[in-house]
Assembly symmetry: D2
Homo-oligomer: 355 residues x 4
């Protein structure tokens, strides 16, 4: 009989619980990873609330690191026992969209997102990795699991926000919302050479973290119009680049308004609600203002993950302050609940597996 | 006393007429051009109807060619009598936005648009050109004035739509709306190597012209859902690039929906109405679908104009079929009226000045 | 016992012959293709002469189309009997360089080049395709095998030359050398919107073909300094883009000299000899002239191949005039010999397999 | 009679001295700046030794800041007495190359370089600035003149080296030679998000400074083959990007060899000698290795200068450690001599004008 493992699943919309499932088996190009650390994401809450539709007994979670437990015959260069990081997004790298360079859109829109979407996620003692050759990344000895796990989604997504923003060296950037992705976008903007980084956030603790991660100016939108303040700080012109990190109409709109003509709005937030997102017409130059709106989904793959790890290894960034709470796997339900209520000043809850 | 000239002006919102004005004088970096041919643009109608606010006795028109009549002392390399083309957009090339490469946004959003906006336009016997060194372009002998005049706005704007669309060589493109700008976007997509160009247009004559200018497939939106048909023609994936050439919610939305993940929506239309333009959320990948939305305003300047003229000179494109009507300067009012009513199958009315 | 097939091999440097080999078997991600048409390439000659070192009984050839004979278990979406095109370069799409977007450099420099290099080529009754999911492309019914086969290398390489050349719409291009790759670079420059295409070639027949494929001006270097003529034709400035299609010091040097400051030199030729290639210092602006030198190796993969096929299907280009000679598989040795001597005005010899 | 000023000139090749010249007068678009601080550059030595040909009584120097002394009538937004920075390169921003975005190649190759080349330089009590509107930049109060002056050339050129290198966030970079430009390239690579910066330099003091400016690893080429060590440090693949900062065959060659396939070699050095610069053929992938070689000349203009100043103002970089020596204007000859002999561990000598 197949060995069994404990999994934390979404039983249906709004309902969670632990479930025993068989430990998965790898196909020829796959790997099975024994989970050591994971992070809970706001999108887990969104999924649980029905954001991507009905799911039955689906294991939640997409941010994890662990140890290689089993390898398919076609996976070269790894051995059982290797410490590995797996990106939240696991493309196949061969489909049409992957060949076009849009690996997060593997096969179809957002199709690289497989964990806790179209297959079981990582909140389990073991998880399955497709196309493992390109989706497993060795973790350098100097980086603890609980730090490396931030590369899977938070660094990759937040930094993508900065990379898509076309920031000129010495240019000006505004980052709207300073949740974990926003904080990493702020860190990313600094890493990429922004000369002025303005972070906008309503929660005081997050504003403090924004400063820690490199914001030069931190604005509290409850204390005045953030767009007007951004314009004032840039001599009336607006920033070269604005990064949206909430997935909300208000912050998106603020991004378009705060950006100068010829500037770029980079969207890192997930827009979970409504039929449409409105571009403010005049701030957009009536469709002629040379403002570019880019979007993207957390880039995955071993090359991406290795670069993220290198930035940690070489001391460029330390995501540890994002860990505001720690739980054992058995307590993951409480972590998920906190991510929903955003109580206790939570940014990211770290989940420890095993002993 | 200053010599006088006949001008066709907007007396106020909704009211036009001829007015005698003094022939303008050039400053040190300027030129005065004697108009020979001009084109009427739908944006002239928009201006007349109050689209950019109140104006008093403002000379209309921004598409023209002519003969150098007078040169400021700082303008080198031209002589009185030279046949010249002047882009609809006349940047100063030295301001902050120009140095950043966004010359159409000279000084501020859309600031490169001066003619018939912040200074007198070209519907006059003479017109004034700022920063003439970079804004005058000699017309090759082989190109008649009535052909060259299409470079000022129609080719430059339509082709910009294609250039901003990131069309892969052999890729698929959909161009929504086939007015003069849309037709030039269609021609531009073909010129840039699209492997499949789909043109969408409700008016039969324009669909026929779309074929003439290079569309492989022409869709009539009144005969079925154009987005569905684009998806069908591309095996369900959508096009690599969609070009919006109307400035309307419906066509913009169709562009986002018809574009594959990782594709580009290029906006060449002017959005004249409403507070906002809505991005359809799901088709946009909920802000994560790697779809880029670019915009821009007709690029100007002598280098741009020379490239447009070269494409005509070398037989790559002939915009002449856009000229559906011809009028003498004295009749420009009637031309403007036709552009408003879109009667008689009008695409572009050509205005001839002088004898 | 395994079924056998006839192969045309390089027995050792300078020596060729037919050899019976077992029909290859596919691994789980592979396919076996029954060859129908192939082309001989100058690089086959180069390999035979020792250009990539010693090889024993290696099947030559890398340009072919055929029929799917057998599929590995992991290859989806194809069936035995499908007519397929296979790019000359067959990346794995998952290695580090592939993930970085440089699929032709799979695993290591030029590593995507496997046929007749590190494994048997296509001059055999059957050939083996690695990573078949991404390296097989269905051939549309309307395109005969003998036309489709040009996509494998000639179109993909020549067009890459144009794509890497950063040609502005309406810009000026010079293509040095008009062998089959150069002719496709000329066609590619036209397809991508060049306003002036200057082809340079010493052989009269090829100059004629250059005109056929879209060159506006054709220069014979034996009749005068081609660089000087290019400068003259561009008003002294040089072209926006130059494409090197021979892999020789003289043409490379001419490219750098013929290109304006801020322009691009795109290399499509293979440099087979010598320790180094010399950049002319002054023409290069003493290392400060803003001239970019790009290189690349024939892009492969099904997305690339599909776009190439689409350009043929939609009538954008017809490579058929490149076929100057036709041989049966049994005569492939004579075809190879002609490619070496360049006698009889040969451009490309087409090889037909089977009845 | 025109007021006179002291100038330090190149009397002819190899001969310098002070000369009284009339204080220059501005044309309508020009400005006259009273020099406060300047820097001596190795290219001043190169010019003196005949590197750009014969010159008679040409004022040397191109890196300076000062106070606006006189403004042409067409220059808006500045007042006499303003503290200003002027880039070493002063484009007109309107010529063909400028419109194409290559402002350092104004009018012709390297044509944006006017100071101490085609007009008097800045080693004088006053200097003349063409196209002053776009070439003057106000210096923020918080930045002393002796720091701001580094933006004119050292920061702009060194950072350009990094900007042209296509460094992926978290990628690997090698910077060859750590003179003042190389040190700023090192700082620039760090500012732009490199995950590993390897600096190569033979002089111990400069290696120490390289560490100070952000190099993670510093190699002494006299202690072993730097290319091999770079390959070793990158797991055998080579760096994503290499930056050449010396203008020499050996370092250029090392850059090509140390760069991975698909990587970029960015040239910031000036190649002053020889007919050609040799690309090592095999390391270049025989012209097919997807390695890009970019070059450029110190970008100028007020937007560029403002970004450089912002990086200093916001604490991103402090070039002060480059100032190893200080001289009064009267002693500039000694400074120039030291720049030639490279004695006393000189990096940059700062020249102070006036009291």
């Amino acid at each position: 009989m197949a060995p069994m493992m404990k999994s934390f699943v979404m039983k249906g919309i709004g309902e969670v619980g632990f479930l025993d499932k068989p430990v998965p088996e790898p196909g020829p190009n796959d790997a099975i990873v024994k989970t050591t650390r994971a992070l809970v994401c706001t999108s887990d809450v969104h999924t649980l609330r029905g954001g991507i539709g009905e799911r039955t007994d689906l294991t939640l979670g997409h941010e994890a690191v662990g140890i290689v437990a089993k390898l398919g015959g076609g996976v070269k260069g790894f051995r059982e026992g290797d410490r590995v990081l797996v990106g939240a997004i696991t493309p196949d790298f061969t489909c049409e969209n992957c060949q076009r360079g849009h690996t997060s859109q593997c096969q179809h829109t957002l199709g690289g997102w497989r964990f806790a979407n179209v297959k079981d996620g990582v909140f389990a003692e073991y998880f399955h990795v497709n196309d493992a050759q390109a989706n497993l990344t060795p973790i350098p000895e100097s980086i603890p699991d609980e730090v490396a796990v931030y590369c899977a989604d938070m660094l990759s997504t937040g930094f993508m926000g900065a990379e898509h923003a076309a920031i000129p060296l010495g240019g000006t950037v505004a980052v709207f919302a300073q949740g974990p992705v926003g904080l990493m976008a702020t860190a990313g903007a600094r890493l990429m050479g922004a000369g002025l980084v303005i972070a906008v956030e309503g929660i005081a603790d997050r504003r403090e973290l924004a400063r820690h991660f490199g914001a030069d100016v931190v604005l509290d939108p409850s204390e005045g119009d953030a767009v007007e303040e951004v314009l004032r700080l840039t001599g009336g012109t607006g920033v070269d680049s604005a990064i949206e990190c909430l997935g909300a109409q208000a912050t998106f709109e603020a991004c378009v308004k705060a950006t100068r003509p010829g500037g770029t709005v980079s969207v890192a937030g997930y827009f979970g609600h409504g039929d449409s997102v409105a571009i403010p017409r005049l701030a957009w130059g009536a469709g002629m203002g040379d403002k570019t709106i880019r979007t993207g989904l957390c880039p995955g793959g071993s090359v991406r993950m290795r670069r993220m790890l290198r930035l940690i290894e070489m001391g460029r960034v330390d995501p540890s302050p994002l860990t505001t709470h720690r739980f054992r796997f058995e307590e993951v339900g409480r972590a998920l609940h906190l991510m929903e209520t955003k109580e206790e000043g939570i940014i990211k809850p770290l989940i420890t597996f095993g002993a």
